[in-house]
Amino acid sequence: MSEFEKLRIITKYEFLKHLRRRRLYAVIGIVIAVALSILVGLPAFSVDYPDDITAMAGMLSISATLASIGAVFFAGDAIAGEFEGKTGYILFLRPVRRTTLVIGKYLACYAAVALIILLGYGIVCVSLLGIYGQIPIEVGTSFVLCLLFAGSVLSLTFFFSSISKGTMGATVMTLAFIMLISGTIDGVLMIADQPSWFLLSRAGDAIIVVYPGFKAIMMAGMGIGMPAGAIEYDIGLCAAAMATYLVICFFLSIFFMRRREML
């Protein structure tokens, strides 16, 4: 049997596992709840929807961005869980290369996350059509960037999962890296008016900054005193940064997984 055929089997059953887990439906619930809170919350407080359709699209796209972060919860146990949960004593006894296992698991995680992102952008499109009767082109760009961001978050989580003893460690380390470490350095660099496009948290902002109307809201919200460069995003550089995280962390996770032993 070819490794490609084995890859197909691993992806199928790993995806089935995701479909059976509550966390998939929890993340779907969060995405829907956030979108609903915007769609219902604004009229509830007698606030009109923004005149600029791209501002509304940006607000609604935040829910889909959350799905990308939700990727951490799908991938945290992908590798570490096999060791910690002892399921590796069954899976690693099959005549399958570790590389094939990692790729299959990655594809299954990505499919699960992409499904939620698709749902999130589906809500964005239906809502915009219902309110404004049109969908701006930026939604497509944001969607592609969101898929790329999810891929890079997954790769980063796989990397931490390949070197962590346990699932919790991998999940916490990934979230700490994105939100605390990357986020803090981003803040410092913003204040110092230095480029920070290479940080994953900053690169991820590109998903909503592609909407001009939402970017204007962000600029207003940042207040006086923030350097001009703080709200300037080069979308191409951000995409390149995300792609770099995706590729490097993915290969590192394969590297460490291949060397890891069932002690």
Partner: protein, 240 residues
């Protein structure tokens, strides 16, 4: 007769601790050999290396003539194994689990279906085939572990204390399944339960502190030391 398993000068350190010290063994086709030794003797380490789960510090091992260290996947295709107390994905049923593992082992279509049915019947899990494993007891999981080891009808079985953690009834059940399944197979079986070994195996390799102390037939060891128990105690007394 062909050699099904060959272990050559296997040595393994864990951060400076010597767990396996130049272990060498040859097991011929269709032989049932027990690897006997006290806790921490190096049984599980030897089995993990044979199953490609650990790398040796030095030495090597062959399964059906295939070098496990260099051609892990090919060697594993000849083996059915239970190592430590394995766990299963709780969200899947035994049928789904065996289907997943069987497909990865290269079994397809009707053959896979009938093998799954046979394996589930052999381990007496017929009524539980479509129930998620999250509801299973330790004993049921151990029976499922036997099913996955036998699923692809491998010529070689490597079992690491398959009755570990089971109650007396569970131990008897696993032993019965094992007796039924081992026909025309080479069995390499780690244990520290003398009664289990005496009932199941023809030959015994006794190890202690990672070193081979004796490798002979159960009958010969009984004759030489008057009982298997005395042989075990005498040969592993350094551990006491």
């Amino acid at each position: 007769m062909r050699e099904a398993i060959v272990i050559e000068n296997l040595t393994r350190y864990y951060d400076g601790f010597l767990a396996l010290d130049n272990l060498s063994l040859k097991i011929e086709e269709n032989e049932d050999v027990a690897l006997l030794g006290p806790n921490g003797a190096g049984k599980t380490t030897a089995i993990k290396i044979l199953c490609g789960l650990l790398r040796p510090s030095s030495g090597t091992a062959y399964i059906d003539g295939i070098n496990v260290v260099q051609e892990r996947e090919l060697a594993l295709s000849k083996v059915g194994a239970i190592v430590e107390t394995p766990e299963f994905y709780p969200y899947l049923t035994p049928e789904e689990t065996l289907s997943y593992l069987g497909k990865l082992g290269g079994i397809r279509g009707r053959e896979l279906k009938s093998r799954i049915e046979e394996a589930i019947k052999l381990v007496r899990l017929e009524g539980w085939a479509k129930v998620k494993i999250e509801k299973f007891s330790r004993g049921m999981k151990q029976r499922l572990a036997m099913a996955q080891a036998l699923l692809h009808d491998p010529p070689i079985l490597i079992l690491d204390e398959p009755a570990l953690g089971l109650d007396p009834r569970g131990m008897v059940e696993v032993r019965e399944i094992f007796k039924e399944a081992r026909k025309e197979k080479t069995v390499f079986f780690a244990s520290h339960l003398l009664t289990e070994v005496a009932q199941v195996c023809d030959k015994v390799a006794i190890i202690d502190h990672g070193r081979l102390r004796a490798y002979d037939s159960v009958a010969l060891l009984k004759r030489k030391y008057r009982s298997l128990e005395r042989a075990y105690l005498k040969l592993t007394e350094a551990a006491i």
